[in-house]
Symmetry: C2
């Protein structure tokens, strides 16, 4: 069964839009002019096929183009290459959605955990989850572990490394994982809680496999990855690894240009929802409206919808808005995102110093009170 | 020694631009508000420092910000994370250049081969190199190998897989590498030539190490990688591997949104030149002016300059324009790019069917005649 990708095409006329759609159908597959496409299987199956094309608005068209699963094979990176590889370099073209169809859905089943699996892992059956970010870069592993301890004590669900903590000499990956995991385990033992530590994967590319195993053996609850820098293939590799069996949290670093311009890249929902689910991500971090990034409320809602729609691909996953989050905004955020959401609490937490736990407790109280300041 | 990154900032006033630059200095390092930055090492060394800021034009400013090598550590992905990770999600911000400084230059020495090393490998001491692309996707390995054979016979310097050939069932990676490499070796034996085969790396992420070794053992001349999909970390891993010791060719698939909008992403030279050199790329493929992509002559010249400037980082590398290239355009292209360039010959080659070699020979004659049609 073929899979279908929806593109927005900026063109003066329907005829021009159709010509561009025909260009995409070739560009994303055979990448040769139409007159030299080999007849038979290549022409009949491999070349993309325009399923539907029509106008969205003046100068804006929408085309659905279907592709053969044989173009994608079993590699996620090649699937993405067919979806929007070379065509990403064309101006006036934006990729909006994918309907994977049965074959691709079977080859790329998506997240191992999803919302339900993570709720079980974190012992939080309902309500939003709270995920403080451990930082800043430049602190020792001991200092970072102490912040993690205070956060876990206060009832954080997920303790997440800052995405800027890699394998620097100041706080090497393995020492950091060992010390923060021990601090979180100590807090859990004291409170009976189930806070889960998600380290940011660090190390040279050739060492990442061993570092993932090290983190698993240390007892971490999941892994943070930046697909913009490490590649979507690495996320997919972690998510598929049954012996690792760890949830994956994805960070948007380096991905901004894919969504910032309306006439290129991906829709917000596709980049931070659909593609993440195809890759096996369980939690998709994105910049929240009203923070220091410029995402609108509508764009954030589109991301949350794409993460959670039961239509797939794969299990629904947690949207995780970050940036400028605090107890003061919790009620507003709960009204916007509902219950199935993970709130990142970032740098402003540090303002509370040793009383950092109080900020987390305050956030928890608002969420548990159904979004009303109690 | 600190490294320095140059950003273009879209702002109404110098004061606003300075505030944004101060934001970048925090965002790319500690990612906490200024008032909670720990004093001492973190405040003094880790936080970015504005070196210079000034107006470029009305509403456009340029800032140079320096960072500590300790923020980047030894991982290329973390270096890129510091250069433009979260700030890539800010609107009205474009990353233009990096001055690595001695420390980063030592940690990231760049390409293993560069222009000089590749000329030696290919036995082409001067003049442009010719690199036909083996395609289309959907053909069997035998059919692809036959095309490669004809190209190698005709004097191609580099035989490059199409970037859409991964590890699909139609032409599995290992079978393809074995058959195309054998075909190229046979042609070389017949002509005394030294055509080099660069397969596109395929396979699941966890199998890529073994597949690279397989390709090396098969005798390939280099490796093609797509950093937009597989991550810059993988390029860096291949380039650094002394036992592999293979040149790396980089393909721009999925990278379009980084350069297409003037007020976000990277300058063309930085994305397709500087960042590639830092990652260890020896040949940077990009869409040529006048083809089916919209890059301007100035943008292509900027890429070629960034690839070849002796100022670094690392050794000068080959720019490799592709798209709409043929003998008819060779003279024009030679006038534009000079000698140190690798011309991709793509899908239109197939129009010549069994006489594909004649198109390559024709291109060679024009280049050898100094750009004059002989």
């Amino acid at each position: 069964m073929r899979f279908t990708v929806t593109y927005r095409i900026f063109a003066a006329t329907l005829a021009e839009a159709r010509a561009r759609a025909e260009g995409i159908a070739l560009e994303q597959t055979v990448e040769v002019p139409a007159d030299v496409v080999p007849q038979g299987f290549v022409a009949d199956e491999i070349v993309g096929q325009i399923v539907e094309i029509g106008a969205e608005a003046e100068g804006i068209y929408r085309a659905r183009i279907s592709f053969s699963p044989e173009s994608a094979g079993a590699e996620l990176t090649q699937l993405f290459n067919v979806i929007f590889g070379n065509s990403s370099i064309q101006k006036g073209l934006r990729c909006l959605a994918i309907d994977p169809g049965d074959t691709i859905a079977q080859r790329f089943p998506g997240p191992r955990f999803g919302i339900a699996g993570l709720r079980e892992l974190c012992g939080r059956a309902k309500g939003g989850l709270i995920a403080p970010v451990i930082k800043p870069q430049g602190l020792s592993c001991d200092a970072l572990a102490q912040i993690a301890y205070l956060c876990a004590r206060a009832g954080a669900d997920i303790i997440k490394d800052d995405h800027g903590l890699a394998d620097q000499a100041i706080s090497p990956f393995r020492e950091r994982v060992t010390k923060i995991q021990a601090a979180v385990a100590r807090a859990n033992a004291e409170t009976g809680g189930t806070a889960q530590y998600f380290p940011n994967i660090g190390g040279q590319t050739e060492d990442i496999g061993a570092n993932l195993r090290f983190a698993k053996d240390a007892g971490v609850g999941g892994i943070l990855v930046m697909p913009g820098l490490l590649g979507f293939g690495l996320i997919h590799r972690i998510a598929r690894d049954a012996t690792l069996n760890l949830p994956v949290m994805s960070h948007p670093s380096f991905l901004g240009p894919y969504v910032l311009s309306a006439d290129t890249g991906f829709s917000h929902g596709m980049m931070f929802g659909t593609l993440q689910r195809l890759a096996g991500v369980d939690i998709s971090v994105f910049p929240n409206v009203g923070g220091r990034f410029g995402f609108s409320a509508a764009e954030c809602a589109e991301i949350a919808d794409a993460c959670r729609t039961p239509a797939g691909p794969g299990k629904p996953i947690f949207p995780s808005p970050g940036g400028g989050m605090s107890a003061d905004r919790a009620a507003e955020m709960q009204a916007m995102y509902g219950d199935d959401v993970i709130y990142l609490l970032g740098g402003s937490l540090l303002r509370h110093a040793d009383r950092i736990g109080e900020a987390i407790s305050a956030m928890r109280r608002v969420l548990d009170a159904g979004g009303r300041l109690p």
